[in-house]
Symmetry: C2
Subunit: 311 residues, 2 copies
């Protein structure tokens, strides 16, 4: 991976030695070691009209500062038009290999014949990470994910980063390496975080190593317990209050709680329609804006990170 090496060399020039910890990364990014840096990231743009509109609203409000787009989804066209119109908002490609919903289905950008290991009997993506892990052939994963990026590029998008829907690329070392390889090939930073890999996706700690990579130090993702207790907004407020120095990320899924969104997330309260409305409300609220100021949180962008890694 020559680009990764170039990046490491660049970082070495800026730092006192080989960069293998957050402090050095912060230094290379030009920030103080004590600064609390934050990306507020909205996943799932393109999924639906409700998701698109809420994402646009939260971006315009200025509290979330990046989002990522699902190329295979029905409302891709609408969000892609927005991205072309507002290129200054950081937007990634939300690499998609699964569709978790019960009555709303989508499948690969490529035909079923090209990527048969990625689809169920009806040609849609599998619902769970586990099914993808058990069935998807790495060469087909690579082909499909590159096709998603190529489709976005051919549409005129100039993405700032890559991430992985449901963090399915964190289910095996092989997928994780593919993710790295694709990021490197397209010169796009990839979202990496140990909690996403070990807790959300499933690779054991012993199997992976994120040393010498730009990782998100601390990741905050709402949980079902807090949502059920009506404490989701409190969770986000607390995350802002307890933020530590380093690179932090809050991962959210803003959407309007509409007829459409309730149908998509039917029987799926986890990251469901009501949850997403809370995400929208909190991250467009005065409370959130005030907390960011009060806690002296410094928002950072994927654009900065991209410039550092792929100058």
């Amino acid at each position: 991976m020559p680009m990764l090496e170039a990046w490491r060399e660049k970082l070495m020039e800026k730092s006192s030695g080989f960069m293998n910890n957050t402090k050095q990364m912060l230094q290379a990014l030009g920030y103080d070691n004590k600064q609390k840096l934050l990306i507020i990231h909205a996943d799932d743009a393109g999924l639906s009209h409700s998701e698109n509109q809420a994402t646009m609203e939260a971006l315009r409000r200025g509290l979330i500062n990046s989002y990522s787009i699902m190329v295979p989804c029905p409302w891709f066209y609408e969000i892609a038009e927005f991205a072309l119109q507002y290129p200054n908002f950081d937007h990634g490609i939300h690499l998609t290999l699964s569709c978790e919903w019960n009555s709303y289905k989508f499948g690969p950008v490529l035909s079923q014949e090209e990527v048969p290991s990625l689809v169920d009997a009806q040609g849609y993506f599998f619902k769970s990470r586990k099914e993808v892990l058990n069935r998807a052939k790495p060469e087909e994963v690579k082909k499909e994910l590159c096709a998603q990026i190529e489709r976005a590029l051919s549409f005129g998008l100039r993405p700032t980063h890559l991430d992985s829907h449901m963090y399915t690329l964190g289910t095996s070392i092989e997928f994780l390496n593919l993710y790295r390889e694709i990021g490197n090939f397209y010169q796009l930073p990839i979202m990496l975080n140990s909690k996403l890999i070990t807790e959300v996706s499933g690779i054991k700690t012993v199997e992976f190593d994120l040393k010498n990579e730009l990782v998100i130090d601390s990741l905050y993702l709402g949980n079902l317990t807090d949502f059920k207790k009506g404490k989701l907004a409190d969770y986000y407020a607390n995350a802002l209050k307890k933020l530590q120095p380093g690179i932090n990320m809050i991962l959210i899924h803003p959407a309007y709680d509409t007829h459409e969104m309730r149908a998509i997330t039917k029987n799926h309260p986890n990251f469901g329609s009501a949850w997403r409305q809370i995400d929208l409300e909190f991250f467009t609220s005065q409370q959130c804006e005030d907390l960011i100021k009060k806690e002296k949180i410094q928002m950072i962008s994927w654009t900065e990170i991209k410039k550092l890694i792929y100058p």
Copy 2:
């Protein structure tokens, strides 16, 4: 076309001579020549959640008695599950070659590489009938439409008829013959009507001949002038009042006027979201039910027609 010949022979047995007019068709269907027969048909199922829910609602209410499904659309899965659960409602395949919306796009079931003449630079269907007419290669049209039907069949659907989205198959004799050929191959009656062909789609009267085919004698389709004047419901009521003996059809597009539907039909008042809500309301109303009774209108089904044509 051996099936078509078998059908003609069947009709000849039942009628006094070669069947070339409506009266004979009605006889063959077992109805009195003076009866006012009616199909109320909802197009565009599968287009969106709002369209699906309204179609289901109108079918359950019992006033509309057939609908047709757009296989390439994002909400196909939801309506297909409904069709499997309620197989007794007549459902056709709404053969789709175009996508008329501005920010909501869909494309062929087959890959772009397989049917390059059917898609724009971004891989979506063309917006207008004219573009399809000018660019689509008949062999690719046939391949894609058969793939749409095969996809529905493999899903477990057992359609009762075929029709054509935006009646694009009525733009040329070649397409019209393809439509006939596909209907015959799958042993499914096709929706044929001279007004759809000459007024909506564009083949000149001199070029086509619907003799010896089962056609809809009179077709009623709401128009923009009445919609703008707030007279769409009146148009439907008048259609019911002035219905003539023979096979009649009212073509509608019921949908809930939601956030989703307004976004899909943005800048497209013709068959837009508000229009579709009126369709839903009128065809679930007591007024409509009363008129059908008062005017002694006999509802007929595609299932009856299918049994006659392909016994």
